[in-house]
Each structure stands twice: as structure tokens, then as C-alpha cells.
């Protein structure tokens, strides 16, 4: 216990209890009745409470009218419908933009179907944008649409056409031979076959007699060899007109 501490305590405010604080905030305590050290707080709170009264009175008649107009459930419906309409417009706009971008991109790539490419080409040319037409990649052939390597395709087709033309000429030659030749039978067929196969066919050659040995002579010779020249098989029997029976 010391004097200077007592002096310090005299300068301090009294502690505020919870109920008094509650009453101060509720406006139930006038500044004159406030606990020591809280007079300024009480007047400050009253000042806050009294402020803006005039501003409030000024709008007293207008806001209830507004509320009356907006009180009905139409207020909510209106705002929702406005939002949904706006949302729908946004979606539609986005879809149209996407479709335009995709179509323009395909038109630039020349990948649209013929008629669509034609329309896109003409429409975009009006706004100064050049895109390939429908037959841009067809080359000299009007029926050939674009492909990744048009030269190879065209040359391949030309070779096929040449081969086909050659085939047609050969057929005519064969036909001529068949109708004009004086050969007949196997010889005529062999000639035609040879021409058709380019000389590779051996048709008609099997028709000639190329074997010198008959079955009878073969059998007689074999029997002679086996018997050491004593056999009379074959020739004798044949001469006698007999048949051999076992």
C-alpha cells in the first residue's frame, strides 16, 4: 500500500458492469446519470441515435408508395423473367457466334460441302474475305474434288486409262483374227490363244501325236527282256486271235 498508488486509483474510471452497459446502449441512461467517466460515452450514443431523423422523414411518403407498387409477387416474377430472358439472349448470341466461327473456319479450309462452300465463298467475298470456291482444288478435271495429293491421283488414273485403252485395242485385234483367219479347229484356237496371251499359250499343241510307244509293244518288249528272248507273249496271242485267261 503506497500513497502514489492511491492517487492513481483516484484517477481511474469505475468499472462498468454488464447491465449498466446494456442500459447505456438501450438509451435508458442520460449523460447526467451515467457512471463517472461515461458521461461522454452516453452523449455520444445519444448523438448517434438522434442523427438522420430529418433524412428519414423526407422519404416517408415516397418509399411506402414504391413498396406498394413492388409489394406484389410480380416483383419477384418480373426480375426472374428479366434475368431468364437476358440469359436466353446471351445463350442464343453465343450459339450464333460459335456457328459463324465454325462455318467461316470450314469455309477457309474449303471443307464445306460443294453448295455450302459456294454460298460461303460468295457471301464472304462480299465483305472482302477470300475463301476457296467449291471447285478450287479440282484441278483440270471438273469432277475431281480436292484431295491431299491431287497430282498422284490424276497420274494414277491416267495410267489406268492407258491400260484400259490398250486392252480395248488388243480385243479388236483378236476379234479380227477370229473372224478373218482361214484356220479351223485346233489351229484356229491355238492362234487366237497365242495372240491373246502374248505368245505364252501352248493351246493346241497337246492335240499332236507325240508318243511312239504303244501299250502292246511296251508289254512285249518287257516280256522278252524278262525271258531272255523266249517269250512269245503279245504278238503270238494277237496273231492267233486268242484271248488270254488266267
Amino acid at each position: 500500500m503506497s500513497l502514489w498508488r492511491d492517487f492513481e486509483c483516484e484517477m481511474q474510471r469505475l468499472p462498468l458492469d454488464i447491465d449498466t452497459a446494456d442500459r447505456l446502449l438501450a438509451g435508458q441512461v442520460l449523460p447526467a446519470d451515467a457512471p463517472p467517466g461515461y458521461e461522454a460515452v452516453a452523449s455520444l450514443l445519444n448523438g448517434l441515435r438522434a442523427h438522420e431523423e430529418e433524412r428519414v422523414r423526407r422519404h416517408e411518403n415516397t418509399v411506402p408508395e414504391l413498396m406498394k407498387g413492388g409489394r406484389s409477387p410480380l416483383l419477384e416474377t418480373k426480375s426472374t423473367s428479366r434475368r431468364s430472358t437476358l440469359h436466353r439472349f446471351k445463350l442464343a448470341g453465343a450459339a450464333v457466334t460459335c456457328a459463324l466461327a465454325c462455318t467461316t473456319g470450314l469455309a477457309f479450309a474449303g471443307s464445306l460441302p460443294g453448295a455450302a462452300q459456294d454460298v460461303a465463298s460468295s457471301m464472304l467475298s462480299k465483305v472482302g474475305v477470300t475463301v476457296p470456291g467449291p471447285n478450287e482444288k479440282a484441278g483440270t478435271h471438273p469432277n475431281v474434288r480436292g484431295s491431299s495429293s491431287p497430282d498422284v491421283a490424276v497420274s494414277g488414273r491416267a495410267e489406268e486409262n492407258d491400260e484400259a485403252a490398250a486392252e480395248n485395242g488388243k480385243g479388236a485385234e483378236i476379234s479380227d483374227l477370229a473372224t478373218t483367219t482361214e484356220l479351223t479347229g485346233v489351229e484356229k484356237g491355238a492362234a487366237i490363244s497365242t495372240l491373246a496371251s502374248g505368245g505364252k499359250s501352248q493351246a493346241g499343241q497337246q492335240g499332236e501325236a507325240t508318243a511312239d510307244h504303244s501299250a502292246a509293244t511296251d508289254g512285249a518288249a518287257t516280256a522278252d527282256e524278262a525271258s531272255g528272248g523266249h517269250s512269245t507273249a503279245g504278238a503270238d496271242n494277237a496273231a492267233a486271235g486268242q484271248t488270254h485267261r488266267p
Binding site: 462498468l16 458492469d17 455520444l44 406498394k68
Partner: protein, 184 residues
């Protein structure tokens, strides 16, 4: 202003759109709402209060409860509007001022009251934001501690302790200001 036993009939009439009932509700609650919003947002407080009343108008048909419940509901709307406004301002990061505002000073300008009011607000601004909000809801909104607790999502006992500490700190701030003024 309290409706007492007339509250139920006033509410029913207001739901039907009766002008007198709506005016009574407005007179009863608008001063508190406006004060609360103006202390937090001096520039946009009136606009926010109008938006609060539009929300009230939209939801009044669905409201069920006592006068205290209605007060809590209204201040919950006001508080959420305030939070939304601050979030939007953070995103916008601009503070547009109209030409008309720049050309002429407001006719309502009162230096004396503004000074007192400004001093009170600056003192409240020195408190932690949660404490200042509770004091404003109590003083400006005219709510009791249970209602403030319901609006702010705290326990009533916590609110009472916070408001006591807030008043102690306010007293300390004001006395230090006075001491400074005396020593000058």
C-alpha cells in the same frame, strides 16, 4: 416506436398493400435501418436502405413472426446488403462521383452536427469492426442484445460482454481526447 398488440393487424394490412400500414412499418423501422447503414456507408447508405425496403416488400408476404422477429429479419437483410455492397465495391475498385455532386455543396450540410456525428463515428471506427457493429446495431438499430446475437450469429452472453468492453474502450478513447484538449 412499438406496435404492441396492433402489430399483427398492421402486418396483415401491409401484406395486402395497405398504404397506411406500410407507412407505419416504414416509420417504425426506416430510421434505424438508415442510421445503421449511414454509419457504415455514409455515401451509399440511402441507396442501400431503399434496396432493403424492396427486399422487405418482396418477402413480406412470406414473413411470419412477432415484431421482434420482423426487426431481426429486416436487420439481417440490411446487414447482408451491406456485405454485398462492400464485396462489389472491392471488385469494382472505383468511386465514381457525379458532376452534380461536385458542382454544389449539399443543402443539408450542417457543420455542427456533422462534427459531433463525425467524432462519434471516428471513435467507433477505432473499435474492432465486430465490436463497432454490435454497438451500432444496439444504439442505431434499437435492438436488444438477444436480437443482435440472432443477427450476428453469436450467443447473447457474448454480445453483452463485447458491448461492455466496447463501451469501456470508448470511454478510454474519449477521456484521452479530452486530456489532449486540456493540455493544449
Amino acid at each position: 416506436m412499438s406496435f404492441g398488440q396492433d402489430f399483427a393487424s398492421t402486418l396483415t394490412a401491409a401484406r395486402r398493400g395497405d398504404r397506411r400500414a406500410l407507412t407505419d412499418l416504414y416509420r417504425a423501422f426506416q430510421p434505424r435501418i438508415l442510421r445503421y447503414l449511414l454509419t457504415q456507408e455514409p455515401k451509399d447508405g440511402e441507396d442501400l436502405a431503399s434496396e432493403v425496403w424492396l427486399d422487405i416488400a418482396a418477402g413480406l408476404t412470406r414473413f411470419e413472426g412477432t415484431e421482434s422477429d420482423l426487426l431481426c429479419w429486416i436487420f439481417t437483410i440490411a446487414r447482408r446488403r451491406l456485405i454485398d455492397h462492400r464485396r462489389a465495391r472491392t471488385r469494382r475498385r472505383t468511386d465514381p462521383v457525379s458532376v452534380e455532386t461536385l458542382a454544389l455543396p449539399s443543402q443539408e450540410f450542417d457543420p455542427t452536427s456533422s462534427l459531433e456525428y463525425g467524432e462519434a463515428l471516428s471513435c467507433l471506427g477505432l473499435l474492432p469492426p465486430e465490436w463497432a457493429e454490435i454497438v451500432l446495431l444496439r444504439v442505431v438499430g434499437g435492438l436488444d442484445s438477444a436480437e443482435v446475437a440472432a443477427i450476428t450469429g453469436r450467443k447473447a452472453g457474448t454480445v453483452r460482454v463485447i458491448q461492455k468492453r466496447a463501451l469501456e474502450q470508448l470511454a478510454e478513447l474519449l477521456s484521452s481526447d479530452r486530456e489532449k484538449a486540456v493540455t493544449r
